[in-house]
Symmetry: C2
Subunit: 260 residues, 2 copies
């Protein structure tokens, strides 16, 4: 007899969505209507860049990742952990969602190590995840709490680390997969994985390990989409029920690309 697990939807939204009032309102509305247990992971890069600039701190990106000096770490701690996270929590409370904002340091949820310097590239205070302790998180979710996670982890020695929000979402989803029937939703700027990059209607509805190989071989899935789908398939192999790549405004509908 297999025990039936309760469903949990883990949603990752980028900074762009939570930083624009109109798209934020739609997101809060759609997210709060998701039935069953849920968890939100957010970014906040644009606000961090804007705020850093106000403080005279220059933003440096390498391969789309923020180089995080000690000064920039303070900025992302304030913006991700404070401004964005706590405003999301307050707004979700107003939508009837009993949210709890946290970083990977809170309840020791996510331990990471500082990314080592490689080929002369030093990302600074950027963390690569080592382990996830989802036990307290699982109890809270069962008791009706909706965790809202900022893209920050810690090294266990008192230092916070800036960590990619996609990674936080993926690792959290995997860690909770033994306790819940997890659907991981990546909100994306497009309607899903497109068969034709110029045609928003060409969403590929389903991808699995087998069809992914064909899509790659035929040159339909290319570039940055490849690691995204590879990570999704890895999450599925690690026990996540399904991964959905979709537009934020399609949250809660069956639109988008389902990877399982």
């Amino acid at each position: 007899m297999t025990e039936r697990k309760e469903p949990l939807t883990v949603v990752k939204v980028g900074g762009k969505i939570v930083e624009t009032p109109e798209s934020l309102e739609k997101l809060l509305n759609n997210f709060s209507q998701i039935e069953g247990h849920k968890l939100l992971v957010h970014g906040g890069g644009r606000s961090a860049t804007a705020f850093a600039s106000k403080l005279g701190i220059e933003t440096q990106m390498i391969d789309g990742r923020r180089v995080t000096s000690a000064e920039m770490l303070d900025v992302v701690t304030m913006v991700y952990g404070g401004l964005v996270n706590k405003n999301l929590v307050a707004k979700l409370q107003a939508c009837g969602v009993n949210a709890l904002g946290l970083t990977g340091a809170d309840m020791n949820v996510m331990l990471a190590h500082r990314r080592p310097v490689k080929n002369g590239v030093d990302y600074g205070f950027v963390g690569d995840v080592d382990s996830v302790d989802a036990s307290h998180l699982a109890s809270l979710i069962r008791s009706g709490i909706t965790p809202v996670m900022a893209p920050l982890t810690h090294n266990g020695e008192g230092t916070l680390l800036n960590t990619n929000a996609d990674t936080i979402a993926g690792e959290t989803a995997k860690a909770l997969a033994s306790e819940f029937d997890v659907t991981l939703v990546f909100c994306f700027e497009l309607a899903g994985v497109l068969a034709d990059p110029d045609d928003e209607a060409s969403v590929i509805a389903h991808i699995n390990a087998e069809t992914f190989e064909t899509l790659k071989r035929d040159g339909i899935v290319v570039g940055g989409m490849i690691p995204k789908i590879e990570n999704s398939l890895a999450a599925v192999r690690a026990g996540v029920k399904r991964v959905i790549i979709t537009r934020a405004d399609a949250l809660g509908t069956s639109k988008g690309t389902t990877i399982e």
Copy 2:
């Protein structure tokens, strides 16, 4: 038969202590050694003022309270809820304390309303506490978590509010008094309530409702100390076992003034 409640120590520390590296280290050390359940409430006013100034936002205080414009609300949300709170959490984790940082919006712990304009004075986004929901907090504490509370509440309609840290500590202690045997510690710049303001050795060890009347009548307790003791006596009437006013570096010792 009276059920024996587990002890809980609620400690309030001002911004000055958590913002100075040396006193912060001592605090973390002393706080982490407190036996049994514990909860920390912190300020952060100096950092907020410093950050606001870097952003070109002027700090205005009325009767020692910060006037909180929309811009200043963003600053305190970043500094109290992000910078100070999350760094405290990471540093407590490094001391072996499984901390969880939160504001009153998180888990809907503390609902407040915006302070009405009175005698032409508008404090802006400052919240006066209406209610405390300590149920989730109590479960977390029992499961080994140490909450770390930033001085922010929310109005239930999506807006965060800046709220005095002493009030947060007092209201939280009272709300948890039905579940725990609560000692509320206010860390203070002096060794306790002094019989002679010029003599640090003249700490009054115990004050109760009766002796307080005498101390007031004899002019020994004056000025800002009066409301502090009145609030402490009110907490005791509301079920808090004892209130201790002491220096942060005496945390965990029997020094200071005990009000019960």
